[in-house]
Amino acid sequence: MKWEPVIGIEVHVELDTASKMFCGCRVSFGDPPNTNVCPVCLALPGSLPVPNREAIERIIRLGLALNCGINPGSVFHRKNYYYADLPKNYQISQFDIPVCVDGWLDVESDRKAFRVGIERVHMEEDTGKSVHVGEGGRIHTAAETLVDFNRAGTPLVEIVSRPDLTSAADARVYAQQLRAVVAETGVSDARMERGSLRFDANVSIRPEGSETLGVKVEVKNMNSFRSLEKAISAEIERQTARRLAGERVVMETRHWDETGGITRGMRTKEGSSDYRYFTEPDLAPMIFDDSWVEAARSTLPELPGPRRERYQRMGLSPASARVLASSDPDLRRLFQDAVAAGAAPVQAAHWITGEITASLRRREASPKDVPLRGRHLAQLTQMVGEERISAGAAREVLEGVITGEGSPSQVARARNLEQISDRVALEGAVEEVLDAHPQAVERYRSGEKKVRGFLVGQVMKVTSGRADPRAVNQILTARLEG
């Protein structure tokens, strides 16, 4: 029997609002421990939460970007569990009435396009951060654990997908494209290295073709796309091996061990987590009127999916459209400016996703840091099109523009890169080569036609590679055959 995986992804997104979800403390990263704290986020006796309006506006924006419906009213719940970095020993979260429900994200990879259902997007608060001091930095070997509450109370959005994914690779692409939407809507800096996005995966397997879902295992602790993909692969392998060996899969939560490359059980009893959710009595239900939601909708930027379609309508290939649509906003602006200045969209995209991206990466620069403008790119593509410079020379011209030597025509002139297609000049160069190599001419005329290649090469050499090879061929053929 063949087994197929069924995967759902939960993504936690930290919002980078100015203040925390339920108090006025600053949301920050990297400040000294326990400096952005107050009675509320430390859960001192008597303190009360007050919701952050900006965070609510952002989750609505994100929900709309994910094609979700916005519940007309939404309620906070308390999720009860004891942990040292959870100051109240309950997390203010949402349960049966989240802010956003029933959306989707259209995902496109090299191999295929697919739609992933979004079950819900809800608002909650982050916990503090436990730092295990001692050998290995792991909880079971730690001499002591220190807690930094700076992160406690940071607005956290959880995006729960439907179990629509069928491979680890698809899960990775989904997560990447979801990240692009998060970044695009501006609700979070979406910086992976800061843990702004964290992933949990629900993985089960079932006999191929079956309609029923298998026993679900939740895999936690992935904070990069790579580890998400690897963890899911490892879990699918583990479950498949068990089933093939005739063992059953147990419903549980497992941790991804990055170094070991395996998922590890957490020694919790089956079905033991009971969070005793109940309505948060310190917060009134939220009511969202239509005008508020529509105002949020009107501030939505163009998103990667629709943008991809627009690029394709401009003539770009699906692959090129996909790459450009999810690239740096400044690169996309460069594209639009170049097209506006007359560049052919296909050419502009070709340069941007290829040479320009590579060049910026080499110098670890962002598009904003270099003087390359849309009109420059338009001029460059025009010069190539008119064969004023060769493709090779164009790369050099581009480097010159990027390093601030001026416009493409200025760089080409200054660096002497303009193609020589002037017939008189080329005929002179051909004459010079023929005079210098009489034996080669002789061999050609006696039927050794491949010698022409050598002679073309010599012409390119005396013109420092600037000769238009096609014109050289024509002139040379005419001279040798004539």
Binding site: P39, P45, G46, L48, P281, D282
Partner: protein
């Protein structure tokens, strides 16, 4: 020296007339405390120095003509479940022994802004869970009318302090009757305002959807003044009422002519002390004589309100008290792991009643039991609110005894939690509905113990409630009586 049994109104008038000073008023109250504390134990922490400094400042301000209103210079006590900056706040629990909050509760801030002098922190049932103040980890408070009896609870310290004159007014908190029931048992006025009218910020939460801060005073007019000082919107409490606050003192003399007074049928009969019932009936007759239209109103769900309350309040408390884990503040019994530290701290730090309620609440919220317990209780609560709304279509206020009995003996109910819980049978419905209610003393039973009369009103109906309460007070003429169990104060006030 002025009498410590002056009303806030009278003391304020004397202050403004230059006949006394805040320092003198405080000295009077403190000397009363010196005399009574060893026996009554109203206070967990008398802040003599801090209070004296505040009193001096109040006098200086007054001398400069900076008048801050009716509470300026008045010595007021605060229940020890409200945070006071730098002043130990324990909630009568071992788990918060030595805890000094870094901030003032909003109600405390407002008292200070009004010029009030905070005398100290009063005793309570641990985390406000109880009806006798016997659940204090630091020993019970005794009733000034009979020191063998409880003062009620959980604001027993505040009620006894006001009754005996070791404070001129006090703040309490009321989750199921914790202001009104001790007020009734100690012969003072106790008011639970509409939910949301007074900010809960800084009130250590017991049951968030029920908790409300309110005044304990010797007169209805004093209660109106204290409420005025602490009421109003607070951006730090998301459940705080954002509308305008009326003048609570206006209309106190209006009388009850033409007002419709509904007597709650369910709050009488079995379990009610005969003298309490007859005193209530007597008051109803006299209200009718004053022009009120008295009629009987039935609210059948009052019979199950107690059960709903004992699911909702413990459920909320089980989460609210989860933060006391020995990790950040208060008691911490260090063990090898965080989980073991939390468990040991909580077992050691909480008293038996608190643990009982946490267990009850945890159970009521657990998977498989939620619908039958917490879910069902919430339904009862909604229906009860509807029943109240319907009743208030017919009448302006509802009335009943505040407590089915007068003060009981220490230890009498400690072995039987259910009989203790039933002490709050008359007061709990107003917490579940979020409506205001007040207890006014109307007389003494044959043992010389005070009887309280409760007036309930619809949401934000404090003014009509206070009008009726003032008339009840006038008719009863009770407030001129000093508590007899201890040596009488230097002079009889009013």
């Amino acid at each position: 020296m002025p009498s410590p049994l002056l009303s806030v109104v009278a003391a304020g008038a004397a202050l403004r007339a230059g006949e006394t000073t805040s320092v003198e008023l405080l000295a009077s109250v403190l000397s009363r405390a010196e005399m009574t504390e060893s026996e009554l134990h109203c206070y967990l922490n008398l802040d003599r120095e801090g209070a004296m400094e505040a009193a001096r400042r109040a006098d200086e301000q007054m001398a400069r003509g900076e008048e801050r209103g009716p509470l300026h210079g008045i010595p007021v006590a605060v229940k020890d479940n409200m945070c006071t900056r730098g002043l130990e706040t324990t909630c009568s629990s071992q788990i918060l022994a030595g805890y000094h909050p870094p901030y003032d509760a909003t109600a405390v801030t407002r008292l200070r802004q009004a010029g009030a002098v905070i005398v100290g922190k009063t005793n309570l049932d641990e985390f406000a869970m109880g009806s006798s103040t016997e659940n204090s980890a630091y020993g019970p408070t005794r009733n000034p009318w009979d020191t063998e009896r409880v003062p009620g609870g959980s604001s027993g310290g505040s009620a006894a302090a006001v009754a005996t004159g070791s404070a001129m007014a006090a703040l309490g908190s009321d989750t199921g009757g914790s202001i009104r029931q001790p007020a009734a048992l100690c012969g003072v006025v106790g008011m639970k305002p509409t939910y949301g009218l007074v900010s809960r910020y800084g009130l250590v939460a017991f049951a968030s959807s029920l908790d409300q801060i309110g005044p304990l005073t010797r007169t209805v007019a004093d209660g109106a003044l204290v409420l005025q000082a602490v009421a109003g919107h607070d951006p730090a409490d998301a459940t705080s009422y954002a509308g305008p606050v009326p003048d609570f003192s206006a209309g106190l003399q209006r009388g009850v002519d033409g007002l419709r007074v509904g007597v709650v049928k369910e709050l009488d009969g079995d379990g009610y002390q005969a003298e309490v019932s007859s005193a209530t009936d007597d008051m109803l007759g006299r209200l009718a004589s004053s022009g009120a239209e008295v009629e009987e109103v039935s609210l059948p769900l009052f019979d199950v309100a107690l059960s709903a309350y004992y699911l909702i309040a413990p459920a909320e408390c089980s989460a609210n008290l989860a933060r006391f884990d020995g990790m950040r503040y208060g008691l911490s019994i260090k063990k090898a792991t965080a989980a073991a530290t939390m468990a040991a701290t909580r077992v050691e730090g909480f008293g038996p009643e608190v643990i009982r309620r946490i267990l009850l609440g945890t159970y009521a919220l657990s998977a498989g039991y939620f619908d039958a317990f917490y879910g069902q209780a919430q339904k009862v609560r909604s229906l009860l609110q509807e029943e109240f709304r319907n009743a208030y279509q017919q009448v302006d206020v509802l009335v009943s005894p505040t407590s089915p009995t007068t003060a009981f003996r220490l230890g009498e109910r400690t072995q039987d939690p259910l009989s203790m819980y039933r002490s709050d049978i008359c007061t709990i419905p107003s917490n579940l509905s979020g409506h205001p209610a007040i207890s006014v003393p109307i007389g003494l039973d044959s043992k010389g113990l005070p009887i309280g009369f409760q007036v309930m009103a619809p949401a934000l109906g404090e003014r009509v409630m206070l009008t009726v309460a003032a008339e009840v007070e006038r008719i009863a003429g009770f407030c001129a009586l000093p508590p007899p169990a201890l040596a009488p104060p230097t002079e009889v006030p009013l």
